[in-house]
């Protein structure tokens, strides 16, 4: 027999198993426990910290704990969403790693009884000048394109950042949003004893065995040899599964649906059983396998993709099977729900495993041992660049700021014909056919802020995601997160994680945005480097009146340009200090949650009152880049005059928070000023939309004067140039 450590179990964990079972586990059982107790499946390092996040709200139908979060959007409809990582697989096999990442999260949404309607991706890579990074980048983008396009779910938003800390360990986080009629939603509480378990979709093969454990280790030179742990993607099969599951979800006799992801059948069955204190009894001989001679362990742990488990009322199996048959899919009754609380697996008529289902899903939690990390200085003295216009152009071309058009044009972002605001803006917007409503969605995290101060960085991630929704006219509904960190057993990582949770909690509480689902990905490190703490925040907002959607682009000559929020000269960490001065270790911008709240409320009210022609969140690159983007999107120029005694470079490029750039007809200005006054929000008139150049003057001196055509060219061609270099 293999040693306990080979299964990735500690002596303490093994003792717990012995005490619970009152016997030694057999080989099949210990393999099942070992995978289920991996960090990836058990969340043993993060579970207790995650409980600090706010998860309740008047619209929340389902918070964390099911396959995805569910939020009420009225009209009997619900929006369902979740984000998940596929970092490790993408590090060794970028194409299939990313593709199966898309597939997995789509099935989570499908399992709730929803039709997937949108995908978002948050990606992190090393420096594009490295050949391996180019390979990873191209592979990941092609994988997402291959899978998302085929299944007909539009990829409508996302974000990409580049930094050397992601060279060996890229991050691939995928968010899926679904739409469901509330009466068709599926929850695990509907599971009852005697109900049948139907395994549908692909054949079960030997691929991806141990994938969950692989994702729960740090990457090393041996990781290359783990390539067989990466599953193979079959988007066509997924597309059929989507259609069949959406149809099946309409039947009340389908009690619940569970996707097969990490730890395959073992995880799916034990989740179904343990959540309602039941058991399952399955016959592995009934599982359709891809090849002969698969052992019980292999069948139980296979992570073959594009499979789902349906719990169906006894006697109603045929009706459900016929739906899958119509789509050319297999459906096999492999067992049933029992009363005894045990996960019982049979093979060739013999019991091969029999352990409490709850033992599988409740790994002993591991306490974090955080050690505070010394914070960096709040600011440093920097020389003033001679030519700010050159700095401006350099920033526009920075891969962290420039347009990601090169990427999102490889994704079908229009299929479904609901995409009203396309990728590349603060948030994407989908109308909901048959209603007057629309949904806005975004994913956001500046990892540079998080690396220096994870508490503030996490707050900013939440605030900025919310601001991205506000500027299109949406009320934030709820958020999902994907928390990417290094090895949690290391005290610094534990500290970063705890601070991040606190930051998210405080910002989400202040803005009243519950966390309804999420995912934690630890062990994103190699011997050489560790990723920055990267808590990606995915957020969905509701627009009640789809005729009042706002966008970032300047619209009409003569419109007044106004800044909502402080005209700050925040001299802290920003893309400008990183790119031009190579300074990364100063504190990130300050964030005042009360001010943030007021700025957001003021902007949303102004949009709802129809006062604004455009609104754009100021983020990386500050005011100057924000202005440039409004001009580029609108294909029209602007002239702005600032009167201020602060440093010109930080006025232009500083990343002070809680700021929104808007434009409006002059007649509405008085009303906007009144709104801002009521909310105690600073407001400043900067200039006008006009001509075909962007001109920015400070105290009467021209700092920027560039044709929009040129800045558009710089902004839109940069990424492709870096990839092809």
């Amino acid at each position: 027999m293999r040693r306990i450590e080979d299964y990735g179990l500690s002596q303490k964990e093994y003792q717990h198993i012995l005490e619970t079972l009152a016997r030694e586990p057999n080989d099949v059982e210990i393999a099942m426990i070992s995978v289920m107790w991996s960090e990836h499946c058990s969340y043993k390092h993060s579970k207790s910290s995650l409980r600090r996040l706010p998860t309740k709200g008047p619209r929340v139908i389902q918070g964390p704990g099911e396959n995805a979060g569910v939020v009420d959007i009225g009209d009997g409809l619900a929006v369902v969403f979740k984000m998940e990582s596929h970092n490790h697989p993408s590090a060794v096999e970028p194409f299939h790693g990313a593709a199966t990442g898309v597939g997995g999260i789509v099935r989570d949404v499908l399992a709730m009884g929803a039709r997937p309607i949108a995908l978002l991706d948050s990606l992190r890579f090393g420096d594009l000048s490295e050949p391996r990074v180019k390979y990873l980048f191209s592979g990941v983008v092609s994988g997402i394109s291959f899978y998302g396009n085929c299944i007909g779910v539009p990829t409508i938003a996302g974000e990409i950042y580049f930094h050397p800390c992601y060279t060996q360990n890229p991050l691939v986080n995928v968010m899926c949003v679904g739409l469901a009629e509330q009466r068709h939603l599926k929850f695990s509480k509907a599971v009852k004893s005697g109900a049948s378990l139907l395994l549908v979709g692909s054949l079960t093969g030997r691929d991806g065995i141990g994938g969950a454990s692989f994702a729960s280790e740090t990457l090393s030179e041996e990781s290359e040899s783990k390539r067989p742990c990466v599953q193979i993607a079959d988007p066509f099969m997924e597309k059929l599964l989507i259609e069949a599951c959406v149809e099946a979800a309409k039947l009340d006799t389908v009690l619940t649906i569970q996707d097969l992801g990490a730890a395959g059948l073992t995880s799916a069955c034990s989740e179904i059983a343990a959540k309602v204190n039941k058991g399952v009894r399955i016959d592995l001989s009934r599982v359709s396998v891809r090849e002969k001679g698969m052992s019980p362990v292999e069948i139980l742990l296979s992570e073959s993709q594009e499979r789902m488990l349906l719990v169906v009322e006894r006697g109603e199996e045929e009706r459900v099977e016929s739906i899958f048959k119509k789509w050319g899919l297999r459906a096999a009754r492999i067992g049933e729900v029992t009363d005894d609380g045990f996960f019982t697996a049979l093979y060739d008529g013999k019991i091969v495993a029999q352990i409490p289902a709850a033992l599988l899903t409740q790994a002993p939690l591991v306490e974090l041992d955080p050690t505070p990390v010394l914070l960096s200085p709040s600011c440093v003295e920097l020389p003033m660049p001679r030519n700010l216009e050159e700095v401006f152009l350099e920033l526009l071309a920075s891969p962290n700021i420039c347009s990601k058009r090169y990427v999102f044009e490889q994704y079908d972002h229009m299929v479904g014909i609901d995409t009203v605001v396309r990728p590349g803006h603060d948030a994407a917007v989908l109308r909901i056919k048959g209603t007057s409503k629309a949904l806005a969605m975004t994913a956001e995290c500046n990892p540079f802020y998080c690396s220096v101060d994870p508490y503030v960085g996490a707050q900013i991630a939440v605030c900025e995601a919310a601001r991205n929704l506000i500027v299109v006219g949406a009320e934030p509904l709820a958020l999902t997160d994907c928390l990417n960190f290094g090895d949690p057993d290391k005290p610094q990582v534990a500290y970063q994680f705890e601070m991040t949770i606190d930051g998210m909690r405080d910002a989400a509480t202040a803005l009243n945005i519950p966390v309804v689902s999420g995912n934690v990905s630890f062990y994103n490190e190699t011997e050489a480097s560790r990723v920055h703490p990267t808590p990606i925040v995915g957020m969905v907002g509701l627009i009640e009146d789809a005729s009042r959607i706002c966008s970032a682009s300047f619209k009409n000559p003569g419109d007044v340009i106004v800044l909502l929020g402080p005209m700050s000269d925040d001299q802290r960490l920003c893309e400008y200090t990183r790119l031009i001065h190579k300074i990364e270790h100063v504190l990130p911008p300050k964030i005042d949650l009360e001010l943030e709240k007021r700025v957001q409320r003021c902007c949303l009210n102004a949009i709802k009152d129809g006062l604004l022609n455009s609104a754009h969140d100021l983020s990386e690159g500050g005011l100057a880049v924000g202005l440039a983007e409004c001009c580029i999107f609108g294909g029209i120029g602007a002239v702005c005059e600032l009167w201020n005694d602060s440093r010109a470079d930080f006025l232009l490029f500083g990343e002070g928070q809680s700021r929104i750039l808007v434009s409006l007809v002059e007649e509405n200005l008085e009303r906007l000023i009144q709104l801002a006054k009521n909310e105690n929000v600073p407001i400043a008139v900067l200039g006008r939309v006009t001509g075909d150049r962007l001109v920015v003057k400070l105290n009467g001196r021209k700092l920027i004067d560039q044709p929009v055509r040129k800045i558009k060219e710089v902004y839109e061609s940069s990424l492709q140039r870096l990839v092809n270099q």
């Binding site: 085929c150 007909g152 079959d234 066509f236 299929v415």
Partner: protein, 234 residues
């Protein structure tokens, strides 16, 4: 006008086409599953929608042409019924030899999704009868295999219905998004009742989606259909 939208396994623009025909144009619209067949007079317009029929793992449209429904589509086409193949539908039409030529991998080998401009080359078809020759439309494309190829002796000039062009209608290499032969974006059969189109007219038929240029193709079809009926009644 009674319309059918064919659903192949892997079709993913079927519901979009259905929505536009039914809810935007108020037409009588039905889904037809790929395993089903129908009598040739059953539908006046048959749409083969976009998507990845059978995953397009072999060659786009290569498997779909063997579906039983394609026999019915062929017969309906022979009777002069309208057949509109959009994107994957266009690929299926060339694979089925209902249209000449073939659609190859895009020149840059990448999937491309964006708005393009197309120019009306032939307005003497039922699909373009309300359009002017030389008129420029803006329409989204979304495909990985859209590079149209046809040998010169297979091609009759008036079968080209749309060409990729720039905003002002110039047919240039820069405005060709996939490397198509002669910038071809849309082709018809000799009789003019079957149209294959790489751009997606169903994606630009509603005000809320900003662009409504796609309406003109469906409006042309409806107008042509009504005129023909009036003509036959007389």
């Amino acid at each position: 006008m009674r319309c059918a939208v064919v659903v192949f396994p892997g079709s993913n623009c079927d519901r979009d086409a259905f929505h536009v025909l039914k809810n935007v144009f108020g037409l009588d619209c039905h889904y037809v599953f790929h395993e089903d067949t129908f009598p040739p007079n059953e539908f006046d317009l048959i749409v083969l929608p976009g998507g990845f029929s059978f995953g397009d793992y072999l060659r786009a449209g290569a498997i779909a042409r063997f579906s039983p429904v394609m026999e019915s589509v062929r017969e309906a086409a022979n009777r002069g019924k309208f057949v509109l193949g959009i994107c994957n539908g266009f690929q299926i039409l060339t694979e089925s030899k209902l249209l000449p030529g073939a659609l190859l991998r895009n020149k840059n080998l990448k999937f491309v999704c964006k708005d393009v401009h197309i120019k009306v080359v032939n307005n003497a078809t039922p699909f373009t009868c309300l359009l002017e020759r030389g008129q420029v439309l803006r329409m989204p494309i979304a495909h990985g295999e859209g590079r149209y190829f046809v040998s010169k002796d297979e091609l009759k000039e008036d079968q080209i219905v749309f060409q990729y062009c720039d905003e002002r209608g110039n047919v240039t290499e820069d405005s060709n998004p996939n490397g198509s032969f002669l910038n071809i974006a849309g082709m018809t059969n000799e009789r003019g009742n079957v149209l294959g189109l790489m751009p997606h007219p169903e994606r630009c038929c509603e005000e809320i989606l900003v662009n409504t240029d796609g309406r003109k193709i469906f409006e042309s079809l409806i107008t042509h259909f009504v005129r023909r009926q009036e003509h036959e009644a007389n």
